[in-house]
Symmetry: C2
Subunit: 406 residues, 2 copies
C-alpha cells in the first residue's frame, strides 16, 4: 500500500475455473527417491514392481493337519476312517526330508512346504492320531488345502504400476517379493511465505499492532496431511525488489504459498512480483470466504497467493491447495469423510459466490459454526464445512447437506 | 507344535464380543509429551488450552479502506458523497499516531489497528481519493467492518479441552494465542513380534522353506496411519521359556501384536505364554478370514495374537487392532471413507461368521477381489472391503453394499 493506489478486486472467476487453471498449472513431480519399505506408507510408486520370484515360493500347507496322497483318502468317513502311517513332522521353516509313498502321511503346519509325493492336506480336525498312525475321517481332493507355488504372485508378473499409492496391503505385496526398499516420488516441497508487517511468530510477546502467525501452522498441517513438506520462511519483505529476491530463493520449491497479509497493498505486491517474474493466471475467485486469492507460475514453481484471514486462508487451502498439492504429489484426489445430515436451520448464501460454510453436527443436524470473517474459532470449533454453489442462494431448514468433515 | 498335541479352535466368539472384550481391555494412554506446534497435526491434547490474551489483541480493520467516525457517513450516497480529511495511513503492523476527530478519516489496511476515535471502516470500493480528501459514497454503522478486540477468542476462555484432536484449524487457534508448543498424549508403542520359523526379512535371499515377512510391513503401516509407533522385533523363539523372556522384554510397550506364524503349534505357544504371564480374554473369533485371533493382557500391555496369513492378519488389523489402537491413542473412532455401490454379483458368505470380503469397484459396482486365503494380492489389488454380518448368508447381485475404502 506504501504510496501506491489501492487496487481492489473488481472481477472474479468461478471456483470451477480457478480449480481448472490452478490444476492445469500443477505439474506432477518427476523427482524420485529410494525409501525403505517401513517408511513407504502413503507414498507413490515411481517405478513398477515386478515379481522376481513366485509367491509362495513353494507348494505349502494351507491348514494344520496331515499332508497326504489325496487318493488314499477317497471314501474315508467318520465311521470308515483311512489309517495312514505318519513318517515325519514338517514345521514351518522346515524342509521335508522324505518322499511320501501311498499309505503314508506327514504331520504338517500351516505354511510348511509340502513333502514330495503329497498332493493334499487333511485338516487336523478331521483326523485322530493313534501313535504312529493317523485316522483320516474325510476325503480330500488333489490340491485341497494346498497353497500352490506362485498362486499368489507368479514370477514375472507386474505386481504394481508406477503411480500406485502404497497402501498397507500393497506394501505387504512388495515385502512378499523380498524387496526392502522402493523408488517413490519425492514429496512436494512447499514454501510458506507470510506477508504482512503485523505477523509475529508464536512463542514470544507481541509488539504493538502485531498478531501471531496462524496460517503457517494451519497450512503446514494441511500440507503434511496431503503428502507435502512445508518450509515456513521468515515474513516477506514489503518492497518489490526484496520480495523478488525472496521469491527467487524459493524457486527450488514446487509450490510457493503466500499467506498472512490481507491488505490490498500487500496483495498487490504479491501480484506484481508474480507478473514481473512469471505469469499471473488469475486473481479473485467468486468464493466466500477466500475471494482475494491469486495463482501464477514463476519458473517451475506454482505460486498461490492466499488471503491473510486465517479462515479464508484455510478454507482456500482445503478447496484449492489440497487438489493442486495432491496433483503435484501424484496422490489420488482426496475423498473427504462426509456426513449427510439435515440443515438445522436455513442457510443463506451470497448470490453468485460459491460459499464455504463451517458447521457443527449437533444431534445429527448441521448447525452453522461461522462467527465472523477471519475468526479462527469459527473453524476450530466446527466439525466440518458445507459448500453452497454459486447458483444456490438458500439451503432450507431440513434440506440434506453433505458435511465435509475436518 | 513341537511334541505337543495340536489344539484346534473349537469355539469362537462373535466379532462384536471380541471388539467389546479387546476394547474393554484397551486403556487410553496417560503418558504425555511436549511437542512443537509445527509437529502437532493429528495429535491429541493432553491439557486444556486457555486464552491468556484476547484475539485479536486490538480493534482492527476488517477491510481495506478508511477508518471513519460512522456518524460522519450517515446519509452518504453515490450522488451525495461525504468528504473527509485523510490524516494518516495505517499499515498492518503500524500503530496509529493520531486520534480521529469528526470530519477526519485514516487510510487503513485490513488487519491494521483502528485509530482512536474511529468506530467503523468504509471499504475502499465505496470511496474515491481526491488528494488529501476522501469521498465516501455509502454510510456505515458503528463497528461496521471492524474486528473487535477479543471477538475471536476472549482472554480467559477455555479454547480447547484435554482430549481434543489437533486438526489444522485447532492448531491455528493455538497459534493465535502465541503458544508455540503443547502437551499432547504420547503415541502408543506397539511391539510387533513375528512368530513362525519360516519368516525371513525382505532384502536377502530366502532359505529353503522360508517366506518373506509381510505382516511386519502391513501392520506397521496400519499402526502408523492410526497414531501408533510400531517396533518390529526379531522373529519370536519357538519355546515357552524363551518366548516368555521375549514377552517380558516387550512390556514397556502399550500393545504387543504377535503375527506371522499361523500353525496351531505356534498359536498354542502364544496362548500359553499369555496364560502364564497374564490373562487370556478370548481365542477364536467367528470371522472370516481371521478366526484364529487371540487377545489378552500381560501386565499393562494389551496382547493381540493375529493370524499369520497376511490377508487374515491385515483384515483383523482393520477390524480389531485399529479400534483398540485408536482407543489407546485417545483418537476418535475411525471413519472409513466409503462408497455405497451395488454388488456386481451375488456374494455368498459363511453362515454364522462375520465376513470380511475384499472388493474392487469396477464401473461403479462392487466386484469380489478375493483370491485364496492368505493371498496378499487379494488385498493389494482391492479397493476396499465389505463386511457381511454373521446373520447374513447372501448379498444378492444389485443389492447396495458399503465398501470401506483402503
Amino acid at each position: 500500500m506504501t504510496g501506491t493506489k489501492m487496487r481492489p478486486i473488481r472481477k472474479t472467476i468461478p471456483v470451477e475455473d480457478a480449480l481448472r487453471l490452478a490444476g492445469g498449472a500443477a505439474r506432477p513431480l518427476d523427482r524420485t527417491e529410494r525409501v525403505e519399505l517401513d517408511a513407504c506408507g502413503g507414498r507413490v510408486l515411481a517405478a513398477p514392481v515386478a515379481a522376481g520370484q513366485d509367491v509362495p515360493p513353494f507348494d505349502r500347507a494351507a491348514m494344520d493337519g496331515y499332508a497326504v496322497v489325496a487318493e488314499d483318502t477317497f471314501g474315508a468317513g467318520r465311521t470308515a476312517p483311512r489309517l495312514l502311517d505318519c513318517i515325519e513332522t514338517v514345521h514351518t521353516g522346515d524342509v521335508p526330508t522324505r518322499t511320501l509313498q501311498p499309505g503314508q502321511c506327514a504331520q504338517i503346519a500351516t505354511g510348511a512346504p509340502m513333502p514330495e509325493g503329497a498332493d493334499a492336506v487333511v485338516m487336523v480336525e478331521e483326523t485322530d492320531r493313534r501313535g504312529t498312525e493317523v485316522a483320516v475321517f474325510t476325503p480330500v481332493y488333489p490340491r485341497q488345502h494346498v497353497g500352490r507355488r506362485g498362486a499368489d504372485i507368479a514370477q514375472g508378473a507386474e505386481l504394481l504400476q508406477r503411480g500406485d499409492l502404497l497402501t498397507p496391503s500393497r506394501l505387504g505385496s512388495i515385502a512378499a517379493l523380498g524387496i526392502a526398499a522402493v523408488e517413490v516420488y519425492a514429496r512436494p516441497r512447499v514454501a510458506l511465505l507470510s506477508t504482512g508487517g503485523e505477523i509475529a511468530p508464536p512463542g514470544r510477546p507481541l509488539g504493538p499492532g502485531q498478531i501471531y502467525d496462524i496460517n503457517r501452522f494451519t497450512l503446514g498441517a494441511v500440507i503434511r496431511e496431503h503428502g507435502g513438506v512445508p518450509t515456513p520462511l521468515p515474513t516477506a519483505p514489503d518492497n518489490l525488489d526484496e520480495l523478488g529476491r525472496t521469491v527467487d530463493g524459493c524457486l527450488d520449491h514446487d509450490i510457493l504459498v503466500f499467506s498472512g497479509g490481507s491488505s490490498v497493498g500487500e496483495r498487490d505486491l504479491t501480484l506484481d512480483v508474480i507478473r514481473q517474474k512469471g505469469e499471473l493466471l488469475f486473481h479473485g475467485i467468486a468464493v466466500k470466504p477466500g475471494k482475494p486469492t491469486a495463482c501464477g507460475v514463476v519458473g517451475d514453481t506454482l505460486v498461490l497467493g492466499m488471503p491473510g484471514y486465517p479462515t479464508s486462508c484455510l478454507s482456500n487451502a482445503y478447496m484449492l491447495l489440497v487438489p493442486v498439492l495432491r496433483k503435484v504429489a501424484r496422490l489420488p484426489p482426496y475423498l473427504f469423510r462426509t456426513a449427510s445430515v439435515p440443515a438445522a436451520r436455513r442457510f443463506v448464501s451470497t448470490p453468485g459466490r460459491h460459499q464455504f460454510y463451517t458447521v457443527r453436527v449437533v444431534d445429527g443436524r448441521a448447525v452453522p459454526a461461522f462467527k465472523a470473517s477471519g475468526d479462527i474459532t469459527s473453524m476450530s470449533q466446527a466439525d466440518g464445512y458445507i459448500e453452497i454453489p454459486a447458483r444456490t442462494d438458500i439451503v432450507e431448514e431440513g434440506e440434506t447437506v453433505e458435511v465435509k468433515l475436518f
